[in-house]
């Protein structure tokens, strides 16, 4: 450019003005971002950061209001115990939500499986490991039913699982005759079913095998989602099923298997549930559906699919647990606990929308 310019014969007077003008042809603009925008970008790049920060803030807030009674190792580990069931069921829900689906039947699958394990192991006198295995198989079967209806019959997951929710719950009531199996009877005839309720003390913190199991499950799913082809395919199917199919992913097979896996996780949740409440009740888990969706949403997953993390869901469940425990310890009426959790969901989703609007 400059060569040409220099080799120019004597410039005419009006051309001299050019030299004062911009001589650069193209450049990358370095935008300076306001601090808020920087934060927005950071959060966009680290989706679990939002729930993690909210969790830390709420622990700190309740710690300063309630004091050591809240911050004791015992109480904090108690919260982990209290979110065990929702953590496990939320894990199943997360997998489904990543594929842009939703599973309203998770709670019903869990209760049905727990009743089957209990009936077989306690009332019918089957060996406990066998009762457990059959329970897990029933969970897989329920998941497979959802999966077939979603992939073969192309029905929307919301409708399918709304239907199977009622079906599984009705089967649960019929098979159990609405009768509870007492903790003492489970302990006598099939104590393996209560195994996940066994407490473990670690440095003054009290866990149960169930809560450790839940943490291990989250770790395993994290590995599958982030380090295996199956996990990446799951995100791809949720983000854009057509593109995923064109890229050679067998989307129906992925979708079907994710419903089966979710069913098995729910059955494992049934095992954890028996450990937690001791007895086996056909009335249990009635709020598990919505609680699991709450955990997933507060944990930062998108209900439109393709985005969400298993660690986020665990943190989401913990946030709700911290709120409920902290508000209860601060003597807040249960009515206002519900109120607070409602706002928590709305704020979490609003925050999520704001982060997604980030300019690339």
């Amino acid at each position: 450019m400059t060569d040409i310019g220099n080799s120019r014969p004597a410039a005419q007077a009006f051309e001299l003005a050019l030299d004062k003008g911009e001589s650069r042809v193209a450049e990358f603009e370095v935008r300076t971002r306001a601090p808020l925008q920087k934060l927005q970008h950071f959060l966009h790049a680290n989706p679990t950061a939002v729930p993690a920060i909210v969790l830390l803030l709420s622990v700190a807030a309740f710690g300063s209001v309630v004091g050591p009674r809240f911050l004791s190792m015992f109480n904090l580990s108690l919260i982990i115990q209290q979110v065990t069931i929702i953590g496990v069921i939320g894990a199943a829900q997360t997998l489904i939500v990543i594929t842009a689906g939703i599973d309203l039947s998770v709670g019903a699958i869990m209760v049905l499986c727990s009743v089957i394990m209990g009936k077989l192991g306690v009332a019918m006198g089957l060996a406990a490991p066998l009762a457990l295995l059959i329970g897990l198989a029933v969970g897989a079967g329920c998941g497979a039913m959802n999966g077939v209806l979603v992939t073969r019959f192309k029905l929307p997951p919301f409708i399918v699982t709304l239907g199977t929710w009622s079906i599984f719950f009705a089967l649960n009531l019929w098979y159990s005759a609405s009768e509870t199996i007492r903790s003492q009877d489970v302990a006598k005839f099939a104590s393996l079913l209560q195994a996940l309720g066994t407490p473990v003390n670690i440095f003054g913190a009290r866990f149960t095998y169930g809560s450790l199991f839940m943490l291990a499950l989250v770790l395993a799913i994290w590995f599958v989602l982030n380090r295996t082809a199956f996990g990446r395919h799951l995100y791809a199917v949720g983000d854009d099923p057509d593109a995923a199919r064109l890229a050679g992913i067998r989307t129906d097979r992925i979708l079907f298997s994710v419903y089966v896996i979710a069913g098995v996780i729910c059955a494992l949740g049934a095992w954890a549930l028996i450990g937690r409440i001791g007895s086996i009740s056909p009335q249990a888990g009635q709020t598990a559906n919505l609680d699991s969706i709450t955990a997933v949403v507060v944990g930062g997953a998108s209900l439109f699919g393709g985005r969400g993390s298993i660690v986020g869901t665990l943190i989401g469940a913990l946030i709700v647990g911290v709120f409920r425990n902290g508000l209860a310890l601060s003597d807040v009426d249960v009515l206002w606990q519900e109120f607070a959790v409602g706002w928590l969901i709305i704020i979490a989703v609003a925050l999520d929308q704001w982060i997604r609007k980030v300019s690339a």
Binding site: R69, F70, N75, L78, Q81, Q82, I85, F169, L173, A177, S178, E179, T180, I181, R182, S183, Q184, G197, P199, R206, T208, L273, R276, I277, G278, S279, S281, P282, Q283, A284, G285, Q286, T287, R324, N325, A328, L329, D331, D333, V334, L335, E338
Partner: protein, 339 residues
């Protein structure tokens, strides 16, 4: 096409069959809160048995979940259309269902509220119910007598049903506190008492899970809790698990209300100290009999003396009877329990 015609024909036949039998026998409708709670499952079983014995036709309906008023209103409309003689209902919403009940009564149907009164109670022809305040009072008195001198320094946890403060929940909770000797403040409201012995109220949804969580949270508020009131026996079982996990299961007293068979067995095993038994089968059976009497031209049922409802009875169940307090032991109770 042929398939759907077959289905249609079968349906028409079925309809024809029911209307034929309906012409022979008076129809009694039973509308329970839900079809899931063992209390209502037993109530339905009691009604079915009584229907057979009294030669009436029973038609059962239920709300989908606790609090579902719409399904109950639809059920009442269906029963009016079917020409029922009487309706037995456990209302999910004591106030909201009243206009539908009035329509039924205007159509000449005898309406009896079971277990839960309507609001106003006289919107129904009669109410057959447990005296829930008395049920609470009995276990409160039992706890006070059992603790003896330690009652003045007791630390009390109250595990209620839900945030709605429905009449059954309030009556049992306040009855218990009255029986224990605590000033109620407003007896129509849970949680306005000033007594320092109360550690707190929490809700359980009447389930094991809820009972355990509520107990854990209240223990965090005060680890020295010595007495636990529970709205029902599943909540009591959950509370017991929470106490057991911190090694307090032997020295904390749990009292409850219901009289379900698992609950009575828990009294036997020492999980629950005392429970007030109620009689859902009796409620339904008496209800069916009343409709039969009414259908044959007899009168309407009249309330128990001193109450605005027909009391179907409460029985205190405990294996450690307290002085001057009538109770039956768990062995006797096992013959009369439900669910």
């Amino acid at each position: 096409m042929r398939q759907s015609f077959g289905l249609f024909a079968a349906l028409a036949l079925a309809l024809g069959a029911t209307s034929a039998s309906a012409a022979d026998k008076p129809i009694v409708g039973l509308i329970t809160k839900t079809s899931t709670n063992p209390f209502f499952v037993k109530m339905k079983a009691g009604a079915e048995e009584a229907a057979k014995a009294n030669d009436v036709e029973l038609r059962s309906f239920a709300g989908k979940v606790d609090g579902d008023n719409e399904s109950q209103v639809a059920a009442i409309e269906n029963l009016i259309a079917a020409g029922a003689k009487g309706i037995l209902i456990t209302p999910n919403d004591s106030r909201a269902v009243v206009p539908a009940v009035e329509k039924a009564r205007a159509a000449g149907i005898l309406v009896i509220a079971l277990d839960t009164p309507l609001d106003p109670a006289n919107a129904a022809d009669a109410t057959f119910a447990t005296d829930n305040f008395l049920a609470g009072q009995l276990i409160g008195q039992w706890a006070a007598k059992t603790l003896g001198a330690k009652a003045v320094s007791a630390k009390i946890a109250l595990l209620d049903l839900n945030v709605n403060q429905i009449s059954v929940d309030v009556a049992r909770d306040q009855g218990f506190l009255k029986g224990f000797g605590i000033d109620l403040g407003n007896p129509a409201k849970i949680g306005d008492e000033k007594d320092a012995r109360i550690v707190g109220h929490d809700v359980t949804l009447g389930s094991e899970e809820g009972g355990r969580k509520a107990m854990e949270n209240l223990l965090q508020k005060d680890p020295d809790i010595s007495l636990v009131y529970t709205i029902n026996e599943p909540a009591a079982a959950g509370a017991y698990e929470a106490l057991r996990s911190v090694g307090r299961d032997k020295d904390v007293l749990i009292v409850s209300v219901d009289g379900g068979c698992p609950g009575v067995r828990n009294v036997k095993d020492g999980v629950i100290g005392a429970t007030s038994m109620q009689f859902p089968l009796l409620m339904a059976a008496k209800g069916v009999e009343a409709v039969k009497t009414f259908a044959l031209g007899g009168g309407r049922p009249t309330a128990s003396p001193g109450l605005d409802f027909v009391n179907t009875g409460v029985e205190l169940v405990s294996d450690n009877p307290a002085a001057d307090l009538r109770s039956i032991d768990s062995a006797a109770a096992l013959n009369r329990c439900w669910g």
